[in-house]
């Protein structure tokens, strides 16, 4: 199946490239009219997050971060474009977390192929155009909070997983990689996957399908198992101001080093719904996901998690807005000798804040975040945060 999709993608890209080369010769636009750039410089400031509630997978805390983001697009012709987005956090080496080619074989049809390190088709939040589109400073739990499962490190004992409830920021198990590392968020919004995607349709209905190396919780450039992920999202605009999306994804997430011990791989299966309503000075967005991770080394079967958030932004006056988000991530209950408990510590997050545009390109945000869970290095933590954001 995946070979067929790959063959189709290569054939489509080849035919489009040849058509694009002809079109490029006929395209009279200057270089500056084909080239665009944009970026952001973001500084987040907050007290130390001792509970690691806002920890990202690569040992950076989202509320204490300096981020540089540069996006580039070059339209070789009407049919072909090259796009990239390069990011550096806290002066780390810049990394292209988006790098792909966009093809439109038929200009008169709403049909697009993208290949390379591509934006995720699943859900909505990860494709927010830029940080400036996030009305608050924190990221929804579904897209940020690492649980205690790892693709490359596993255990045969459920009790070992339960011992680490709330410590997903740095976990290690006896099987596989022995270096401590963060667990899996339900969906990773910071790294993008590698593969091919197709979008059909536009308004009022669009369908996007992607075949990629990793999974939505563990996007990859290089495959670490023989499996691929298929992800899809159908978007529908029932009325002006409304957007409804339904997403699904399934792909092998267990790395070979664990799968070989377990005698087989394991898949992440996810379903999601996203909703947006906008009118006048109000925007309301909501998303919900249900995810199941097969755990081939455990005799207990798969582990599941579900979460949802609702956020709203309201503009009080030109350049000034208030925003809030209610956020929940809960984990499935499992039976233990001592009774039932969740396999990881379920968590609530409330975030209130606002933003003020000092000028069109400079936004200051303030936020107050409250986190609560029943296990982990800290079970409750309130965090004020400030963000200065310059975009160009």
């Amino acid at each position: 199946m995946s070979h067929l999709v790959n063959i189709f993608a290569v054939a489509a890209i080849s035919s489009t490239l040849s058509a694009a080369s002809v079109a490029a010769q006929e395209d009279k636009r200057s270089f500056s009219e084909r080239f665009s750039y944009g970026g952001e410089v973001v500084g987040n400031f907050s007290p130390v997050d001792e509970g690691y509630f806002n920890e990202l997978e690569y040992e950076r805390n989202l509320l204490r971060l300096l981020r540089f983001n540069l996006a580039l697009e070059f339209e070789a012709s009407d049919r072909i474009a090259f796009l990239t987005e390069i990011r550096s956090d806290n002066f780390d080496a810049p990394e292209p977390y988006a790098l792909y080619i966009r093809l439109r074989p038929w200009l008169e049809r709403a049909f697009t192929i993208q290949a390379g390190r591509i934006p995720p088709v699943f859900g909505r939040f990860a494709r927010q155009r830029y940080e400036i589109d996030n009305p608050l400073i924190g990221t929804p739990l579904l897209y940020q909070y690492p649980n205690t499962l790892r693709p490359d490190s596993a255990t045969t004992e459920l009790s070992e997983i339960l011992q680490r409830r709330g410590f997903g920021v740095k976990v290690v198990y006896p099987i596989g990689d022995q270096s401590p590392h963060a667990g899996l968020p339900v969906m990773n919004s910071l790294r993008w996957d590698t593969g091919v995607q197709v979008r059909i349709g536009d308004d009022p209905v669009e369908l996007s399908v992607a075949l990629t190396q990793g999974t939505i919780s563990n996007p990859r450039v290089r495959d670490d198992n023989s499996g691929k992920q298929v992800a899809a999202r159908a978007g529908f605009r029932p009325a002006f101001g409304w957007v409804v999306g339904v997403s699904g994804a399934r792909g092998d997430y267990v790395a070979d080093e664990v799968g070989e011990v377990a005698g087989g791989s394991g898949a992440q299966t996810v379903f999601g719904v996203d909703l947006e309503f906008a009118r006048n000075h109000l925007i309301v967005r909501a998303e919900s996901m249900w995810s199941r991770w097969d755990t081939p080394t455990l005799g207990t079967g798969a582990l599941t998690a579900a979460g949802a958030f609702v956020e709203a932004r309201y503009k009080l006056s030109p350049g000034l807005y208030v925003a809030g988000r209610v956020d929940r991530l809960s984990f499935e209950g499992v039976a233990t000798p001592g009774g039932s408990t969740t396999w990881d510590s379920s968590i609530w997050r409330f975030e209130l804040g606002g933003g003020y545009y000092i000028n069109r390109h400079l936004l200051a945000k303030v936020a107050f975040q409250y986190n609560e869970r029943d296990a982990g290095p800290l079970t409750r933590r309130s965090l004020p945060a400030v963000q200065l954001l310059f975009w160009f």
Partner: protein, 221 residues
């Protein structure tokens, strides 16, 4: 971008600078603005996070120029009715790119696109935010204070326009051929300025005589 020369001229007009002209009969100033600047359309920010191509966009006419009197004739500031103006949102483009109006003018902002726009400005002469409204609807803003108002769309960063708010009515916008006409000008000697794509480009003097049209051409490069 604020242009000191234009601001100075607007201030001078507010203070009531008087041209040395009798009010008996009127003349006109006509001419052509030949724009030789590179005025390609801004492509906006990259669409890296899109799953497909963004919608087709129009091209703002950034060569469109505004020609106006630096010093207005006496009586230019007397209250007079002003017609509403329109700044359309069409194919993700503001049309026109530059809109000259007299202080007190109501400007309508219809949305002609099948998508949301969110028109706003953070310029000091007029801060406003119209929020999001659908195709076929329009909202109105009254521009009371002279000055330059930069207008943007919050959703589409490539959309921008200028509204030049004058305290008098002696201005015109060039047409597609670059032609302009300023009518009902009392006889006298005037400084005439041309503004193109966000900047004052040139100022020239011209003598207006009663019953005649003085010709004044500009080259902007």
């Amino acid at each position: 971008m604020v242009q000191p020369v234009l601001w100075a001229s607007l201030l001078a007009m507010v203070l009531g600078a008087k041209p040395d002209a009798p009010q008996a009969s009127l003349g006109a100033i006509v001419g052509q603005v030949d724009v030789r600047l590179e005025t390609g359309a801004s492509r906006g920010r990259p669409s890296v996070r899109e799953l497909g191509n963004p919608a087709a966009r129009g091209r703002p006419d950034r060569s469109q120029s505004i020609v106006y009197l630096e010093t207005a004739p006496q009586g230019a500031f007397e209250a007079r009715p002003v017609a509403p103006a329109v700044l359309d949102q069409r194919m993700e483009t503001f049309v026109p790119y530059a809109l000259p109006v007299t202080a007190g003018t109501s400007v309508q902002f219809p949305n002609s696109d099948p998508i949301f726009h969110n028109v706003f400005s953070l310029s000091k002469p007029k801060r406003f935010d119209l929020g999001r409204y659908p195709q076929g609807r329009s909202k109105t803003v009254v521009f009371d204070s002279p000055g330059i108002v930069r207008v943007f769309c919050e959703i589409h960063s490539h959309m921008s326009a200028f509204i030049l708010v004058f305290s008098h009515g002696y201005y015109d916008s060039t047409n597609a051929a670059g032609r302009y006409e300023i009518h009902a000008v009392p006889p006298g000697v005037y400084d005439v300025t041309v503004w193109t794509d966000g900047e004052v480009r040139a100022t020239k003097s011209v003598a207006v005589t009663a019953g005649e049209a003085a010709t004044l051409d500009f080259v902007v490069e």
